[in-house]
Symmetry: C2
Subunit: 307 residues, 2 copies
């Protein structure tokens, strides 16, 4: 059996605007690389080649706790693990950095152990990492990270991941280098909404999912309006309204906050429009004087890849 493995783990955009806490999408860039080794020494040793300053104690580290949860489920496992993280998805970017660490590690470990678990069965282990990172064990980044493409989760049910068709679109992401804690982004939201607004969002989720399933960016566009989180969270993101407006004016079909932010994503029907949208967002945001990255990327349909 193989003793070591290297995986490439995609960044993910959770929520997709109106699909708050239920929809997520894997994107080709940025991505993390994780090397995992099965070794004879017990315990989990974690090293980072990046300078994000993430903890290296297994029980303090997102990848560590996920791997611990998985090995505890197996029970009676000999030896230990070495994890070498090459992270490119910045923690706190809203691009599923913790999900990538968690999902990538359990995915890799599962392969080295001879795949005792299905992808679906890996979800709860990876969610332990999310719980450590944000206090809430959510799967809306884990799911697209593991399965690729666009995924739907149903909190009202068995948490089974539903894979949707991936429409043929381009994604522009602008990541402002500001810190925004998921917990703060959650606390700013009201605990209740009116039935009237809920119904508006039912219609939007329906249109978005119908657009995804029928590869219709125009229909997706209709559904990309969020009444639940964006109105409360956008104030944390400098120039959010200006960027969104500029992107839509430049031809983007829709977009909003990626996960709980601060990254902002916009969806475009073709590459030429996406280039224009990227420039438009760039122009708006640079006046903030805050450092930022942009990505022009596509939907990543394979999930975690071994290389």
């Amino acid at each position: 059996m193989k003793k070591e493995i290297k995986v490439r783990v995609p960044a993910t955009v959770a929520n997709l605007v109106s699909g708050f806490d239920v929809l997520g999408m894997a994107i080709c860039e940025p991505f993390d690389e994780i090397f995992l080794r099965k070794c004879t020494t017990p315990g989990i040793k974690i090293t980072h080649t990046d300078n994000f300053g993430l903890p290296t104690e297994a029980n303090q580290n997102v990848a560590g706790v996920s791997l611990l949860a998985m090995t505890q489920a197996i029970g009676n496992m000999q030896g230990g693990w070495e994890i070498e993280m090459h992270k490119h998805i910045k923690p706190g970017s809203g691009l599923g950095s913790s999900a990538a660490s968690a999902a990538g590690t359990v995915f890799a470990a599962n392969i080295l152990l001879g795949s005792p678990f299905t992808l679906q069965q890996l979800v709860p282990f990876a969610m332990e990492g999310e719980k450590l990172a944000s206090g809430v064990p959510h799967a809306d980044n884990i799911a697209p990270c593991l399965f690729g493409g666009i995924t739907l989760i149903r909190p009202d049910g068995d948490s089974e991941i539903i894979q949707l068709t991936s429409p043929d679109i381009f994604v522009v992401v602008l990541h402002p280098q500001i810190e925004l804690k998921t917990a703060d982004a959650r606390n700013v939201m009201p605990k209740e909404i009116s039935i009237k607004d809920a119904v508006r969002q039912f219609g939007n989720v329906g249109a978005l999912v119908a657009g995804i399933c029928t590869n219709s960016p125009a229909l997706m566009a209709k559904g990309m309006n969020d009444l639940v989180a964006e109105p409360y969270r956008k104030k944390f993101i400098p120039f959010f309204d200006e960027m969104k407006h500029a992107a839509l004016s430049a031809g983007a079909i829709g977009g909003g906050i990626s996960g709980s932010g601060p990254s902002v994503f916009m969806i475009c029907e073709d590459r030429q429009v996406a280039v224009t949208v990227e420039i438009a967002m760039h122009k708006k945001f640079e006046s903030s004087k805050i450092p930022f990255h942009t990505y022009l990327t596509r939907i990543q349909t394979n999930g975690i890849e071994i290389f």
Copy 2:
């Protein structure tokens, strides 16, 4: 130009469980028949061949107010109308009886006038009838009645009707002959829901729409759970839980209250299962001693038909 026309107008199931106020489905049975004549005498003359006791004054009648709204929009119209209603969809059944009267009449009138309006443009006229019937101008029965198949409306937007693919399913309907006012069914609902429950319903709406769009009854089934209306409205319907349980046990994939009730509908993957489901619901409900009808039908994909 033709002076008279006869149309067949389908019954409709609004909400489709989790798609509260946004999804609707036309079914082949029951249906109304409407004869409409353009005549030289001004005014709107309404006659009924049924014994439902509906008003015949145009401004008190659902078909009448819809037709008035339409002719007012045209302005300066010569002559008047004779409407002969042969209703088979019982008013107050929860099967879109008022929507059928309203949509059927404006559809027929539009044809006789040389189709000055698109189907989409007929929606607001027909909604005047819904407003008269229930106090609320809603389109979730109007839309599938006019367009056929399964439709999605987005209250958060331009009210444009989105037609979804029609999956290959059978529909069993049980209509208890009790009176249940839409207004009462609305008043019993809370005005707000928790974000947590809203998110559960986002996941359900997403799964239901994805199931519809990909012709997957199994995926539709996952999404057919409603947290918004059914928990509050089901008490108005005798033996609701028992019927639903019996139908699911007999192989139905899902179902619930049709519109605001009292009709109950269940969806089945094949005819043989649908027959078993119909018998199971029949058995449960007959102990109530309340008269009832059942229908075993399919999705009506054509909308209003001229014959």
